[in-house]
Structure formats: C-alpha cells, structure tokens
Symmetry: C2
C-alpha cells in the first residue's frame, strides 16, 4: 500500500515546506513547494479560485510584497495518501491581534512527481467562531 508511514511522513514534510515558505515570505521556496503546471489551483481566504501556476505564483508574489508578514502554528494535520496523490487537512492558527488573527481551515492536495511531493491545490478559509 502507498498509504504507509514513509509516504505519510514525506507528504507531511511537503506540507511543512509549504507553510515554512509561506511564513518566511520566501517566493523561491514557495515556488519549490508547488507543481509548475496548468492544473494547479489556489483559493486564498475570501478569494475566488486561481487556476494555473502563473496565476497562483502571481498571487503569492503579491501577498509577499504587501508588507504583511504572517506567523502561524499549524495544528490538526491529517495526511491521506492514495497512490501518487495525497490530501492534507490542517488548521493555520494565525498569531497576532486584529483582522490578521484567527484560524484558517486548509485543504491541500499533493502529487508525487520525479522530484517528490508537490502541491497541486490549496484552499484556505477562515473559521468563523460560533457563539
């Protein structure tokens, strides 16, 4: 089965690389985390879905250059592998007060290519606290 411990660890590392690039605002590391293809998709919180690597890369470039840095702790990671594809759910707990704070629920899809696991889809959305 592909769903063994080594593959789960490899996908978890790929997920961590994505968040480390995100937190560092490192566009080269973010580029390395993604598959560079037309089939990738990215949905930032509140945004419509961006399709294709050019649009996705452009969005990260813009986010990293808007002067806002984000720090967060990733929790509740669940990693699932099916052959050469995998999906991860996790919570991005954003540190800080005000509108930048709070928790974003994420679903990340990875595909294994010749150079390891790369992100092909990311969808994040804020968790609205219910009273």
């Amino acid at each position: 089965m592909a769903d063994d411990g080594a593959e789960l660890d490899a996908v978890s590392r790929a997920n961590r690389r994505f968040y480390e690039a995100f937190e560092a605002g490192d566009i080269d590391a973010m580029s390395d985390a993604w598959e560079h293809s037309e089939r990738v998709a990215c949905t930032h919180p509140g945004w419509g879905t961006l399709n294709g690597w050019a649009a996705v890369a452009g969005s990260w470039y813009a986010l990293f250059h808007n002067g806002q840095t984000l720090q967060f702790i990733v929790t509740n990671e669940q990693v699932r592998v099916e052959g050469d594809a995998a999906w991860v759910t996790c919570d991005e707990n954003i540190l800080g007060d005000g509108p930048a704070g709070g928790t974003v629920a994420a679903l990340n899809v990875f595909v294994r290519g010749g150079d390891g696991w790369r992100l092909v889809a990311h969808h994040g959305s804020p968790i609205v606290t219910r009273s």
Copy 2:
C-alpha cells in the same frame, strides 16, 4: 494515462451527483456520493474541518433538516485526475437574496474504489466581493 477523457467525465459526473444530492437535500444520495471511511474530511463555509464519515454525515443530516433549501448553479468546473485520485475546483453560485446568496468556491477530492469515484474531501468558502 488515467487523465483521459473518460475518467474526466466520470469524475465530473461524481461531482455533479454530489451537488444534485446537496440541492435535493437527499441524505441517501449524499451518502452515496461519499466514501464511508475515517479518512474523509468536510469543511463547510465558515466551519472547522470535520474528519471521518460519521461527523461528515451528521453535518449533512443537520444541514438538510434546518429547513433551508439551497439552489445553485455550478460553474468554472476544473477536473484533474491522478491515478485513482482526482480533484475538482468549481464555483457554487447560490440563487436567492440575502445571506444565503453569493458564490462559494469549492475544492473537492475524489478517490476511485470498486464502485466508482467517491468524495473523500470537500472544502467550500464564500468568495468575498472586493470593491
């Protein structure tokens, strides 16, 4: 390659079955659309992620019994297949005025088992119109 037209069509049909069950408020059809396993995950707009079929099924049961029916048109569907896994991005354009209206961006992940393509992850979040 698994990424041929027939498989794309099969995944698209599975995606449509999910939305038909959603719109009809049909819990049996919704149940048929999902893989029944611990690895499934569902993130409704504004919610935290639910893990495992029991929690996911319970959420649909609650949504279908709150007296609110939703009608929507699905647009911008992009279907991608990688072996026995697939992911779909689309927009759920909800008909009607008020808080129930608007557009939800969705990322849906499917896995092919003995009885065809079944949903293993759904994440929906409202698109916030930017002024």
